[in-house]
């Protein structure tokens, strides 16, 4: 028996997607974050991406650690199961969930404290294991929830609200993700919805570890002069590598481009990532080149954004382990329990 999603009744003029859902069917509880917090814009982008992708909300599992950012899964996809786990440990919980049922979509939401400090190890290991997931770090360069301490992504030399200067080197999660084998890597800005929504869409259609570092200003503790994660600073230094459109089957092609200006990358599931190049020399299928470029632009003071790396034919943890196609959580006694006769044989071998 299967149960078809039943859209709620809405205003007749609200646009609906292929499942008959409106954007509102992808919303969650009312956010309790500060007005203007970048995290809320990312939630809105997730809602928009899932709506546009015609995703059945209940087929998504949304997982997080602890922090303002990690609270947000409550504020989108209200019809999905969510899991607010412990600080820095979302990746392991997500990995376990993914092992149990390979058929759901896994969306991990984390913060820079959550992923670059306490959970740096789990972040790294989930990426290198190749867990099929969309992993978004809502990166504000501070610990929002504990009121504004520097985080491990705070840039060296950046200034705290109360004036202290950060002397520690910053961790660039993009660099680590690239090095550890993430097969879809992007960076964006919560204030740039046009860039962020397609980036999330591409990630959710990606069959491997997809990592997005999304700079997301904290208006309460890190949006002042001297901060390198403020709205103003990011707008000024944002250097987009490309513009992304995610084309799925029937989607119309919206514009004509001059030859050499666009590049189509087909993902494993048939979706096409159409990249309009903003930097002619940038090749998003070249991992080593991407790492090099990233370092180069960073030294020049730019924040590189866009789809930075894509491996169109990735292999995930299930493929590595060789697990059966059927989700492990649906295997019953017959498939799992060897039974009394097998045990009797085993007993005989132990005498």
């Amino acid at each position: 028996m299967s149960f078809l999603p039943k859209p709620k009744l809405h205003h007749p003029r609200l646009p609906v997607n292929a499942l008959g859902f409106t954007r509102r069917d992808y919303e969650g509880a009312i956010s309790t974050l500060c007005a203007g917090c970048g995290h809320d814009s990312i939630s809105a982008a997730i809602i928009q991406a899932c709506f546009e992708l015609d995703i059945e909300p209940h087929r998504v599992a949304k997982m997080s650690g602890i922090g303002c950012s990690s609270k947000t899964p409550d504020y989108f996809l209200g019809a999905s199961h969510g899991f607010n786990s412990v600080h820095g440990r979302m990746p392991s919980v997500l990995t376990g969930a993914n092992l149990a049922n390979r058929e759901l979509l896994y969306l991990g939401v984390s913060g820079d404290g959550d992923s670059a400090s306490i959970g740096f190890g789990q972040f790294a290991h989930s990426i290198r294991r190749g867990v099929n997931m969309t992993y978004i770090v809502e990166n504000n360069g501070v610990y929002g929830l504990t009121k504004g301490q520097f985080s491990a992504t705070s840039d060296k030399g950046s200034k705290a609200k109360k004036g202290a200067i950060n002397t520690d080197e910053a961790i660039d999660l993009i660099g680590i993700a690239l090095q550890l084998g993430a097969t879809y890597v992007g960076r964006s800005f919560s204030g740039d919805k046009d860039q962020l929504v397609p980036l999330i869409k591409g990630a959710m259609r990606h069959d491997g570890p997809a990592f997005i570092d999304c700079i997301s200003p904290c208006v309460a503790f890190n949006n002042h002069e001297g901060s390198t994660k403020s709205y103003d600073f990011v707008r000024e230094h944002n250097e987009a590598m490309n513009h992304l459109d995610v084309i799925i089957g029937r989607n119309p092609i919206t514009a004509d481009y001059a030859p050499g200006e666009v590049r189509d990358v087909q993902q494993h599931d048939g979706s096409v990532l159409r990249l309009r190049k903003l930097h002619a020399e940038y090749d998003p299928t070249d991992r080593v080149g991407a790492m090099h470029h990233l370092h180069e632009r960073k030294a020049a003071g730019e924040i590189v954004t866009g789809l930075l790396y894509i491996e169109p034919d990735p292999q995930d943890l299930h493929a590595n382990l060789g697990t059966v196609a059927r989700p492990l959580n649906r295997l019953g006694d017959a498939a799992l329990v060897p039974g009394a006769a097998a045990l009797e044989k085993l007993n005989a071998s132990l005498r």
Binding site: H81, T95, A100, T323, L331, L336
Partner: protein
Amino acid sequence: MPGVINATNDFVVKFANVNGSGSASANQLFAKSILRMGIPIASRNIFPSNIQGLPTWFEVRVSGEGHLGRRGGVDLMVAMNPQTWDRDVAEIDAGGYLFYDSTRPLPRSRFREDINVIGVPLTEMCNAAYTDARQRQLFKNIMYVGALSALLQIDPGVVETLLSEAYKGKEKLAKSNRDAFHMGRDWALANLACPLGLRLERADKVGERIYVDGNSAAGLGAVYGGATVCAWYPITPSTSLAEGFEKYCRRFRTEPDTGKKRYAIVQAEDELASIGIVIGAAWNGARAFTATSGPGISLMQEFVGLSYFAEIPSVIFDVQRAGPSTGMPTRTQQSDVLAAAYASHGDTKHIVLFPEDPNECFQFGADAFDIADRFQQPVFVLLDLDIGMNDWLCEPFAWDDNRRMDRGKVMTAEELEAGKVFGRYLDADGDGIPYRTYPGTHPNKGAFFTRGTSRDRFAKYTEVGAAYVDNMQRLLQKFETAKGVVPHPILRRAAEPTRVGVIYYGSSSAAMQEALTALEAEGIQVDALRIRAFPFHRDVDAFIAEHDTVFVVEQNRDAQLRTLIMNECSIAPQQLIPVLHYDGTPITARFIRAAIGDKVLANKVLPFAGAAAE
């Protein structure tokens, strides 16, 4: 002239070996051949964690009476490691025997006057018979088994059968092993006074029992319990549990046509990730477990609390060792009882199972998953190094084919569709156990947001104190329900009515049985209760109430189970007398008998402070 120990089917043989010399399979052959003669044995590996020099010992206690605990003392030392020679020779009981490789002569000063020395020129014989260095090494081991078979009267037919079984389909190998065995045996028959005072006589005391280690058994239990996800981080003495699971999964859970696996095993980056993976998998409806030891338990604390409060089943096998991390990792103890029972911050308590031997490791290894699903909380299975890493003679594994996994209260899409009320933390049935849903069950019903606390019965966010208290009370109610479901304690009554009782658990069981027999023979009547799980069944309270004096036998310093009983059953400290053994070696019957017997006879049963047996 030294004295001579004479004993039939009742002695201890200890092998001193160099690790990696191929001695393990020869020693196993020795042990199994005695079992095949129908004589019970208890065997133990002893290995220091310091790898240098690689000494290992293998101790076989032959016991026609069927005693499976460690006895203490050595009647025959097979001294094959020159590096540990002095301490090995020193360990032999007066009148006992020293078996050694006499190829190179040793000065008299390296021996003892009060023991019987048996030299066999093993190296010389090997060098004469074999040219290949590896063969010389391996067959030397089989050769000493041959010589021992003559000295102790092991039936050579039994050894030949075992060798054919071990090398089934490899007749050449089987034959060369047989030849080496007979070479040793014939030499001993021709050159030594066979048999010794120590002898084996065929018996019929083994029956259907099997010989297996607790870690493999627990891993097999997890297979039968339907576990599909295992996440772990290597640590002695638990490593072979995860490896056992993998071995049996490969055999039983590989799809014949595709070669695909009906299981997933992740060697995680640490124990935090291990338990995180377990919790994520279990949240999503798979049965999942981790295996670790004390240091890993310490690292898992925060997550264990999440599993308790968010009510997510998790199974944790803790193969206990002497603490701490830089302590004695290759020595046994029962010292994680409190760390498991009260793991994590906040008000938490957990279900803990205490298997006594590999048979129960298998049984509890499977049951733990039903219990965890039923109560939606962590379940600890507390093995220890002694049960986990040694082969034990135990009842054969048994399985009822009519048994089905008990997944507990899981609300289905049909039930949701039919309008059944779903409150993730709602006590719908009055037993404290709520219903859960697996992610992805239904398009618009049954989804909820999982977090530790700060939510109401319907999983809606709230920080209202009354809602918190309501939830905490329900968790207590759930724990109360568990008392009647977890494995109940087992009572062994003394021959005559008595006011003296003893409580024990886990791997102390074998030594305890033997001690009870000895006490009974001395006319000391003791009722005994073996605790198999926490929370404690009512029978525990009743047992304590029934006796004036209750000993609690444990393998730790601080009397941890006693503390747990005092706390959970509201027992006054003076009612429970600790009997504590914690030097890292397995507890012995001699120790228990002395500790209890002397106190009862002297009739000076003391309160806690002065009474701890050293």
